[in-house]
């Protein structure tokens, strides 16, 4: 392909601009309103004559909001643009005109694509340039924030336009372009959600891992939105107060660059598809013969699985696997023949060959359901090896408190032993489980156990079980071993053992509130708060060393919390959170920004050192005044 611009290229480009300027103007209006105009209309709140850093922070906040909106707007505009620019390929008459003109298909593709890129580039450039004097009028120019917005809008625009162009190249129907575009964007997420739903319904303990990283990458809209809404806060230097600016993180930039590289591949693919497609395929749902079975079976499988689940719930309210398989086959076949009709542009699709394809689809749907039902992939019995686990989070209600980031080898060994013990006991039936849950016996209880392993290879494994614990069983032993592990105990968020890690020197004060007295909170001095914190630390450390019986009534929360007061510690937080969701209020002053607080109540009555200190500070006459009456 030669890149010298000919008069034909110019004529075609002019034609595109003349025909689609309303689209260009519409997109320009959106960005001009969202960026310079909105900035200008908010200038009275942004402009701060006394502190330019405050203005800069607010301008940055506005730009960051626009950056977050850019991928969504780009995604919408790109598909409209592709529909407009390549609409001629969808009609026999128009494709006849354009392809009879003395300009090759390759050049036509290049011209239309370049016009598309120019259209959104002109808008982005205009919005960025106009916003600069407006920012100056608001008291501060955030050049890097503006460039960042431009880069995000431009690169996401390029990616989405390349994707929409590729979608346009494979269809001969104008309205199929957005359908394919949305489908490609969310296809993998949809399949994953269907699989996870069925696995959760039929595999004991299986819990969806949310969105694994690979799925995010295959779902560009999610990934791009996520990365452009999660930035990094950086401190604006040399200011009286501490102001922060939001910027794209390194991961965000990597994501953008990866999708830009993908866009280059998509453009190349679209170019070859354009050259390969036949003009006479205008009006065909899918223009390439080889692609038709792919489209047919992908849509039929997704439709069969998704609609089958819906029908399953309508027919039987969930439950029987046989009914589910039948429902999926019925809906799969309906979708299959529907797609056949669209592909062949005819209702006469009930041929022997089609029925054979339908039979293949039915078998595939049944196999998928049975693979999940009988756990052929081995999800149910899988317990990862402790040495392959990076960290683990555990939770499960009152009888297994939330424990974050278990990463020490001993703790992980005990956790996987507990996991294996839960599995070894087998899936309990619902009646026995209910009985154990409502039992008041000290020898039996119900364990609700939710675990999330973060593997060293970056993968995530999640499981959720409800199991009966009986005294003396291997599960009881494993449960006690796990819970009494010192590291686990320390990491636990159980209020009877948990103390926020605060450097006592950073404590700047605190508050005390005696619930028994109907009075206001009393402010603690820094030394008082520090003494109380250190006393608490010693007390909880001692408690953590005491062994706990997981089936003991005291442990199960029946008697917890005999103290009846609340203690709060205020401290200087040097580990300020570095990320902030755009749209949240930006910090305004250092005093507020860096002060954190942590409070505790429901302490057991034997925290005598803490009680004595409170009495010595004059906050109570006697320790008894601080206990629940």
């Amino acid at each position: 392909m030669r890149f010298m611009i000919s008069s034909s290229d110019r004529a075609l480009a002019r034609a595109d601009f003349r025909r689609f300027w309303p689209l260009l103007f519409g997109y320009a209006a959106v960005w001009l309103c969202a960026l310079p105009l909105a900035l200008w209309s908010n200038r009275r709140w942004i402009y701060d004559a006394t502190d330019s850093a405050a203005s800069l922070s607010s301008v940055n906040n506005h730009l960051w909001n626009c950056t977050a909106a850019a991928p969504i707007l780009s995604a919408c505009f790109a598909v409209l643009l592709a529909m407009a620019l390549y609409a001629y390929l969808m009609n026999g008459r128009s494709v006849g005109l354009l392809h009879a003109l003395p300009i090759t298909r390759g050049r036509q593709f290049a011209v239309h694509f370049t016009v598309g890129v120019l259209m959104f580039t002109v808008v982005h450039l205009a919005a960025a340039l106009i916003s600069l004097p407006v920012q100056a009028g608001c008291g501060a120019i955030d050049m890097w924030g503006t460039l960042e917005w431009f880069a995000v809008a431009e690169l996401t625009g390029l990616f989405y336009f390349a994707l929409a162009t590729l979608c346009a190249m494979i269809t001969g129907w104008l309205l199929a372009i957005p359908v394919i575009y949305v489908g490609v964007n969310f296809m993998f997420a949809a399949f994953y959600a269907l699989f996870a739903f069925l696995a959760q319904a039929f595999i004991w303990g299986y819990e969806s891992v949310g969105r694994p990283a690979w799925l995010d990458w295959l779902t560009p809209t999610v990934r791009l939105y996520q990365q452009t809404t999660t930035g990094e806060s950086t401190l604006i230097p040399d200011t009286q107060f501490r102001y922060y600016a939001q910027h794209l993180s390194a991961t965000g930039w990597t994501t953008l660059l990866v999708y830009t590289a993908v866009a280059a591949a998509l453009i190349a693919a679209a170019y070859f598809f354009y050259r390969a497609r036949h003009s006479e395929t205008a009006g065909d749902a899918v223009v390439f013969r080889w692609l038709r079975p792919v489209v047919l079976y992908v849509i039929s499988l997704a439709g069969g699985m998704g609609l089958g689940i819906l029908l399953w719930y309508m027919v039987s309210g969930g439950g029987s696997m046989t009914v589910l398989v039948l429902c999926q086959i019925v809906t799969g076949l309906i979708v299959y023949f529907g797609v056949q009709m669209l592909l062949h542009k005819s209702f006469r699709v009930f041929t022997r060959r089609s029925w054979l394809g339908g039979a293949v689809l039915a078998v595939a749907l049944a196999v998928i359901a049975l693979v999940i039902r009988f756990d052929v992939l081995g999800f149910a019995g899988y317990v990862p090896d402790a040495d392959r686990i990076e960290s683990a989070d555990v939770s499960g209600g009152y009888n297994i408190p939330y424990v974050r980031d278990i990463s020490d080898p001993e703790g992980l060994e005990k956790l996987t032993a507990l996991h294996r013990a839960v599995l070894a006991q087998g899936k309990p039936d619902d009646a026995a489980l209910y009985q154990a849950d409502s039992s008041t016996s000290a020898d039996e209880g119900m364990l609700t156990f939710s675990v999330s392993y973060t593997m060293k290879d970056g993968g995530i494994v999640r499981r959720f079980y409800q199991q009966i614990v009986r005294r003396g069983t291997p599960l009881y032993q494993a449960y006690n071993d796990f819970y009494n592990d010192p590291a686990v105990r320390k990491a636990s968020s159980d209020s009877r053992f948990y103390l926020a890690e605060i450097d006592p020197a950073a404590i700047i004060g605190g508050w005390f509130n005696n619930y028994r007295q109907d009075t206001d909170s009393v402010e603690l001095t820094a030394p008082q708060a520090r003494q109380l914190y250190m006393a608490l630390d010693r007390y909880l450390e001692a408690r953590r060393a005491e062994p706990v019986d997981v089936l003991a009534p005291e442990w199960s929360g029946a008697n917890s919390g005999e103290c009846y007061f609340y203690l709060e510690f205020n401290y200087q937080d040097n580990t300020s959170v570095s990320t902030q969701v755009p749209g949240s209020t930006a910090p305004t002053a250092a005093n507020d920004a860096d002060i954190a607080s942590w409070g505790i109540d429901m302490l057991p009555a034997d925290c005598t050192e803490v009680l004595d200190l409170l009495v010595s500070f004059g906050l109570a006459e006697t320790a008894d005044e601080l206990l629940y009456d």
Binding site: A11, L12, R14, A100, P102, T104
Partner: protein
């Protein structure tokens, strides 16, 4: 010279062109005729580079047409369903063609304003079908093509405008040596303008010859005999025979003088050779490939 060699094109299993071969000599006005569905428009779309053949070749003076900008700049086409951008006027469409065809003549465009009584700033979609056809001619003729390909070109034009358009076309043929390939069902009209004819049926080009060759090679005789019809001389290739009263009409393939000499030996009381119309040639030639005469819409 425009040439198609053994062109095959299949649409979803239907063979629209079945090894079609055709040659349009330079400077000729070539009429492509055939029944509905014969493949004329499909062949024309191949000549304009819109369709890519499954096999075979299409060339202009030896150069392939498909995806060849230099060659396509020498060809202009007016399809039977000429496309224009719905919001555009003649002037805007002309501007597009001007950018595409280096030979586009603005001077001719301005002059032709007198020939075509149209407002070139009016949106084309607001015009009648005939006016849209005039617009297509106006713009296309201004491209000054060496090769002009027309598919049902005068459909929708009134008789006066038809004559005007043909006169313009033939003027170009005479003055600039423009080669014209025209497909039409209106055989009477083609007969007046074409010097070469190709007949298509079922995706094949059945025959192509100069019109004079065709007319010289087939004779229509009107003969009356004094008594009963005698046995015709052996060797006469009679394509068709009918009798009205005592007058026999024969369509005979062969040289007119030879045929007259042979028939005169039977001492007819009336013997007259009448020139065949293109319509008759079309009917009798297609009769040989089982094409039912009554199906032809003339």
């Amino acid at each position: 010279m425009l040439e198609a060699k053994n062109v095959v094109k299949t649409f979803d299993g239907f063979r629209a062109l079945d090894e079609a071969s055709l040659t349009v000599p330079k400077g000729a006005v070539y009429g492509l005729v055939g029944p509905n569905g014969a493949g004329k428009s499909t062949l024309i779309r191949h000549f304009t580079g819109v369709y890519r053949p499954d096999s075979g070749s299409l060339t202009l003076e030896g150069q392939p047409i498909y995806e060849n900008t230099a060659v396509k700049q020498r060809i202009c086409v007016i399809p039977d369903d000429w496309f224009y951008f719905s919001q555009w006027s003649i002037r805007e469409m002309a501007r597009l063609y001007k950018g595409m065809y280096p030979t586009f003549s603005q001077e001719r465009y301005d002059r032709m304003h007198e020939v075509f009584p149209l407002d070139d700033r009016q949106m084309i979609r607001r015009m009648s079908k005939g006016m849209q056809k005039q617009a297509a001619f106006w713009i296309t003729m201004c491209c000054m093509p060496e090769y002009l390909i027309l598919d049902e070109p005068v459909d929708g034009l009134d008789p006066v405008m038809r004559r005007q358009v043909w006169s313009l076309l033939l003027g170009d043929v005479a003055e600039r040596g423009t080669t014209v390939l025209v497909s039409s069902h209106n055989l009477r009209e083609l007969e007046d303008v074409c010097d070469h004819v190709g007949i298509m049926n079922k995706g094949k080009v059945l025959l192509e010859r100069s019109l004079s060759d065709l007319q010289d090679n087939t004779v229509k005789l009107q003969v009356a005999f004094a008594g009963d019809e005698p046995q015709l001389p052996a060797g006469l290739n009679v394509l068709h025979h009918e009798k009205i009263g005592r007058v026999h009409t024969y369509i005979v393939r062969g040289n007119q003088n030879d045929i007259l000499a042979q028939v005169s030996t039977l001492q007819p009381i009336l013997l007259e050779a009448i020139p065949l119309t293109l319509e008759e040639i079309f009917i009798y030639e297609l009769g040989g490939v089982d094409y039912a005469v009554h199906d032809i819409v003339l």
